[in-house]
Amino acid sequence: MKRKLQFIAEWGSLLLSTAAVCCFLVVILWDIIGKGLPVLSWEFLSSLPTDGMTKGGILPAIVGTVSVTLITAISATPFGVCCAIYLNEYAQDNWLTRSIRASIRNLAGVPSIIYGLFGLAIFVQALQLGTSLLAAGLTLGLLSLPYIITTTEEALRRVPASTREAALAVGATQLESIRDMVLPSAISGILTGVVLALSRAAGETAPILFTGVAFYINNPSGALNQEFMALPYHLYMLSTQHQAIAEVRPLAYGTALTLIIVVFLLNFTAFYIRYKHRSK
């Protein structure tokens, strides 16, 4: 009897917590979709902001977010994957490796504003990139690195030792065994991790705040040395910094919905990759 009560209590509290989390998600989505959907139109997505941003669309912010995320991907993925290959395939298990791993884990926990300041000091000032798309993309790349390294390492670790041995046994070098057998086996796990890291980076504001994002750009060029607009920052600005806050509120909701859609699309891509791989 007592066991049964305890069971119900434990089960109930688990269920309740899950339900609460789902509730929050539903409420947030409901609010944003309900108020953002009426604003969303092809017009809104494809035109520049006008009249002091009280009218018009968010095209420059979309272009900015997409290009900055691309730079993040191009800069962080090769580094992250190579680093994970080194750690998982070559590094011996000694104090050096352990401290590198611990550092990477700690980096993942560093607040994103610190990355912003670091990017400002290194990319904007020391490397003289100025506040620009490139500097911001590289800063977001740094932010994504620990995550990419960790997920790639996990994907590599899931490849059984027998796969590596099989390649060695037919005369492959260690490099060939990694290139031809290990990486192809781990590729879906790696891609999933990369895409999820990018979806997180795409929604960040703090790291791009000092490194390249701008209030307003009237020609979204995607040029590397120019400042750019980005969805999260545009949203932040519309909802807290604008003089006519009430007037631009619908635009803010439209922006929020667009950002959520972008992030959702990235997440969906990740799930799709995983699903494709599993059904193979």
Binding site: Q92, D93, P160, S162, T163, R164, E165, A166, A167, L168, A169, V170, G171, A172, T173, Q174, E176, D180, M181, P184, S185, K280
Partner: protein, 253 residues
């Protein structure tokens, strides 16, 4: 009786993983174009010894090896051969079939590609290797199918095909039938007996019947040492050591 030629040998080999000594003063010889069975209770170091011959321990950082390994009187460690050259001449088939996560065809052709076999010869060698491993008839219409979709026994024969495609001189087999049903096992045994005409074969097995069915020579290991080695018939019918007698008659292990 004519003196048989020794193809592969280990002299006074010691091997440690970290502080733990796994192989102790191993002296074994494997005659050319014969099948030698390696038997002994679980954990006695059979796999470890086998893997030392094709330098599979090179990637284990805490493995330390002493002594000499010889292939035709050429040192396998510290001699003129690189690890990859050693592995080209000494192939290995593992306990659990481990085909590459690729198509059947690619499984066999991969070794040829990385070892620089000219492209125009590759196809012929793939076909011949699959025929020699008695797999060709079963897979000839679906060479592009992923190898992991084959049955366990077919996968193991594919692994053998991939090994013989490289024309090694020695084939090491670590319990190649342990995961297979009796029919697949019989097929593999038949294949091994056939391969003996061209290759020197070392096979680890837990099956006393299998050793007696196929092996010309048998080596009995216990706790990291070679207790006794000799013609299979005398190891099983007339063992010199009590330990060997107890083991082959199933009194322990």
């Amino acid at each position: 009786m004519i003196q048989e030629k020794i193809k592969l040998a280990a002299h006074d080999v010691n091997l440690w993983f970290g502080q733990k000594q796994i192989l102790k003063h191993i002296d074994v010889t494997f005659p050319e174009r014969k099948i030698t069975a390696l038997i002994g209770p679980s954990g006695c170091g059979k796999s470890t010894l086998l893997r030392a011959f094709n330098r599979m321990h090179d990637l284990v950082p805490d493995a330390r090896i002493e002594g000499r390994f010889l292939l035709d009187n050429t040192d396998l460690y510290g001699g003129p051969l690189s690890a990859t050259q050693v592995r080209q001449r000494i192939g290995m088939v593992f306990q659990k079939a481990n085909p590459f996560p690729k198509s059947i065809y690619d499984n066999v052709v991969y070794g040829l590609k990385i070892n620089g076999v000219p492209k125009e010869q590759q196809h012929e060698i793939v076909v011949r290797s699959l025929q020699e491993s008695y797999l060709w008839e079963e897979v000839k219409d679906e060479l592009n199918k992923p190898a992991v979709r084959l049955s366990g026994g077919q996968q193991q024969r594919l692994c053998i095909a991939r090994t013989i495609a490289l024309r090694p001189e020695v084939i090491l087999m670590d319990e190649p039938c342990s995961a297979l049903d009796p029919i697949s096992t019989a097929k593999i045994e038949e294949l091994i007996l056939k391969l003996k005409e061209e290759y020197t074969i070392v096979i680890v097995t837990h099956s006393m019947q299998q050793a007696q069915r196929i092996a010309d020579k048998t080596v009995f290991m216990y706790l990291g040492e070679v207790v006794e080695q000799g013609p299979t018939a005398s190891i099983f019918n007339n063992p010199q050591q009590e330990l060997t007698a107890n083991y082959v008659h199933g009194r322990f292990g």
